[in-house]
């Protein structure tokens, strides 16, 4: 069965620390990968996406993600977080237009 798993449910870190959120997917064939963010009280927004080409993709707000096909992974990174990065982050995969989301990671950045 197709699935998306996120390694951490909760992450707490200080401002200026580096962030890496793990995401693994289980899909056969071609897959498109996404990271979404949900800030407190706001709706889900697309951070970045990977369809093909360069496996290192850059998104908004300084985030980037690396697609490693051999590891079925699509980890999200940010070198230096800010308090405003406090949010819930969802990894998602789609194949033939059908989406599957991970359980989400709640990230809290302390001042």
């Amino acid at each position: 069965a197709q699935s998306v798993s996120q390694h951490n449910h909760h992450v707490i870190l200080s401002e200026a620390a580096s962030l890496e959120l793990g995401c693994n997917y289980s899909y056969g064939g071609t897959v498109n990968l996404f990271w979404y963010v949900q800030y407190p009280g706001q709706h889900l927004q697309l951070l970045l996406k990977y369809f093909s080409g360069d496996p290192l993709v850059k998104g908004i707000k300084g985030f980037e993600a690396e697609f490693i096909k051999s590891k079925f992974s699509f980890n999200l990174r940010k070198p230096s977080v800010q308090w405003s990065d406090t949010a819930e982050y969802f990894c998602a995969a789609s194949s033939w237009g059908k989406f599957q989301f991970g359980a989400g990671t709640q990230v809290v950045v302390t001042p």
């Binding site: 498109n32 996404f34 979404y36 706001q42 709706h43 889900l44 927004q45 697309l46 996406k49 369809f51 819930e88 969802f90 998602a92 789609s94 237009g97 059908k98 989406f99 599957q100 989301f101 991970g102 359980a103 989400g104 709640q106």
Partner: protein, 111 residues
């Protein structure tokens, strides 16, 4: 900025009532989706549509129904609300790029 709207944003209703959650998008997207999300939990796909007069049930069993008579409109109906339906309902749409754009959600409470 994605233009996808959901009404109402919040709804408190008694058991047994019929309710319709509205979702509209102005982007001309063919594909639309309904998700159910409990606080701190993953998104569960409950319905999707790939075009007018096309609707399918998602991965999570739901007692709701949907219709897609117009491209821009994808309402979700609960014929008889129950406390177990208390949740947040998210509507999304996607076009040729496959990434999904989300509405602000409807937080439903059934008493």
């Amino acid at each position: 900025e994605a233009d996808i709207y959901q009404t109402p944003r919040y709804l408190v209703i008694g058991t047994g009532k019929k309710i319709t959650l509205e979702c509209s998008q102005t982007m001309g997207h063919d594909k639309m989706y309904w998700y159910q999300q409990d606080p701190g939990m993953e998104l569960h796909l409950i319905h999707y549509s790939y075009g007018v007069n096309s609707t399918e049930k998602g991965d999570l069993s739901s007692e709701s129904t949907v219709s897609r008579i117009r491209t821009e409109h994808f309402p979700l109906t609960l014929e008889s609300a129950r406390p177990s339906h208390t949740s947040q309902y998210l509507c999304a749409s996607s076009g040729v790029g496959y990434e999904q754009y989300f509405g602000p959600g409807t937080r439903l409470t059934v008493t």
